[in-house]
Amino acid sequence: MIFIEKLSMENVSSTYYSGTQRLAVLEDVSLHVGEGEFVSVLGPSGSGKTTILKIAAGLLKPDRGRILINGKDITGAPQLVGYMPQQDLLFPWKTLKQNAALPLLAVKTGKREAYRRVEEMLPVFGLEGFADYYPVQLSGGMRQRAALLRTMLVESNLMLLDEPFAALDALTRESMQDWLLDIWRRFRRSVLFVTHSIDEAIYLSDRICVISERPGKNALEQVIELPRPRTKAMMVTKEFTLYKQLFINALAS
């Protein structure tokens, strides 16, 4: 049997054009995510991390290289994936329930059925009783959870998360990380997670790909062998610190 990766990006290069300016964003980047694997892309701001996700989702066509999902070449064709952009992008004109139901309605699920499934998931996401609230009425953490619920309801096994917790305060962020791991363990999705926080990447991931500063290149790939389920106590262990040192060095060079 041939092993097929959930997602693989092969030798992807991308250039950003703005008027007469051209800016090399990614250069020969390769990465892959296995079935049920949690992979993080770690890189400084402006290393083209968001571009990686957009290319993986088929929203952006790279200059060179190709993207395979389940072994199929999808380069430059928008895919059905659980894509979560940096801002939560909950639509202000829709209630929490209507926002979360969008991915179901998009694939022609009946309205009643879609809302039923959203309501069913609300307790899991700590949003019970808030179905009819508008995003503006919710706190930052709740908005992120709502956006994640919407992402989970995309009927795809692949999730692409773009710094989902970057806008949250430190405490909310930490509780959201635990909560994300809990959700991930329950639903076993393949995750490509973008972040610029070393701690967050180590804490969450099975494997980390470090991308260098612009133009983004593969700088380091490291498997994280901390046991699961992860606990915050692990963040002060020797192994964690060693990983951290490794990534600090990789990002500095």
Binding site: A57, A106, V107
Partner: protein, 260 residues
């Protein structure tokens, strides 16, 4: 309750100023011996309003039907055109400048043409109203569609939403506030447009009522019709505001949950 008080308090200065002005006007016209056909006293205008109440309503009804049909026509055409311009960039490049140029033609110059082409019935008024209302609506809608968040559209694409769903759940709602600010402008223009149309030739309507009052030097009747026009315009403006408030419930919600 508190909110109500605040709104009364905010409007008080304007109300007082208006009352003082009317009072001053009444005094001047009574004491200075100005002929009534030059400047009738507010009390005389009030009498004219009361006397011609049903006649004014009749004419207002005719004007209102031209205003409403014209506005509806403008909304439909603006919506269709703005959507098409958003969809096809070339169409926008072709049409948008022409649209702007067309606004340099004063409506006073166009209105007679409408009458020559379509007679003195309701149709030319409807068209004039539609013409003046169309521009603010179309321009605001185009701008609204331009402001749509590209990321939101991409997000919908990763859900495999079709074009119609993206239109319905992203583009239209995010353009709605722009649409309503265009509609506010259009609503005030619309009454003006109808009256201009009626001036130039009609069988009934506030414009014709004004013309007749003017020609027979019944100046208080003229003022009475002006007041009706003001009321009509204000009511229209308010109606647009209220419908915006109803159609966009999310705009009146405020933050409720504290950070967790």
């Amino acid at each position: 309750m508190k909110k109500k008080w605040a709104s009364i308090k905010a409007n008080l200065p304007a109300a007082v100023l208006l009352a003082v002005l009317v009072l001053f006007w009444e005094l001047v016209s009574r004491t200075a011996g100005i002929a009534e056909y030059i400047l009738p006293a507010p009390s005389a205008i009030a009498v004219s309003l009361a006397d011609n109440y049903s006649l004014l309503l009749e004419h207002a009804g005719v004007t209102l039907s031209a205003v409403l049909s014209g506005l509806a026509l403008a909304v439909v055409v603006a919506l269709l055109l703005a959507t098409a311009m958003d969809r096809w960039a070339t169409l926008k490049q072709a049409v948008y400048p022409v649209l702007v140029i067309s606004q340099a033609i004063p409506i006073f110059a166009l209105a007679p043409l409408m009458l020559i082409w379509f007679g003195v019935g309701l149709l030319p008024k409807v068209l004039i109203v539609a013409l003046v209302c169309f521009f603010p609506l179309a321009v605001n809608l185009v701008e609204g569609f331009d402001q749509v968040d590209r990321e939101a559209v991409e997000l919908m694409q990763t859900m495999h939403a079709d074009r119609w769903m993206i239109m319905r759940s992203v583009q239209l709602p995010s353009a709605l506030p722009y649409f309503f600010s265009g509609l506010k402008i259009a609503a005030t223009y619309s009454v003006l447009g109808a009256i201009i149309g009626e001036w130039l030739g009609a069988r009934a309507g506030l414009g014709i009522y004004m013309l007749r009052a003017m020609n027979s030097f019944r100046t208080s009747d003229l003022f009475a019709s002006i007041i009706v026009v003001i009321i009509l315009s204000l009511a229209f403006f308010k109606l647009v505001e209220v419908s915006g408030w109803l159609v966009m419930p999310w705009r009146r919600k405020t933050h409720k949950i504290s950070e967790d």
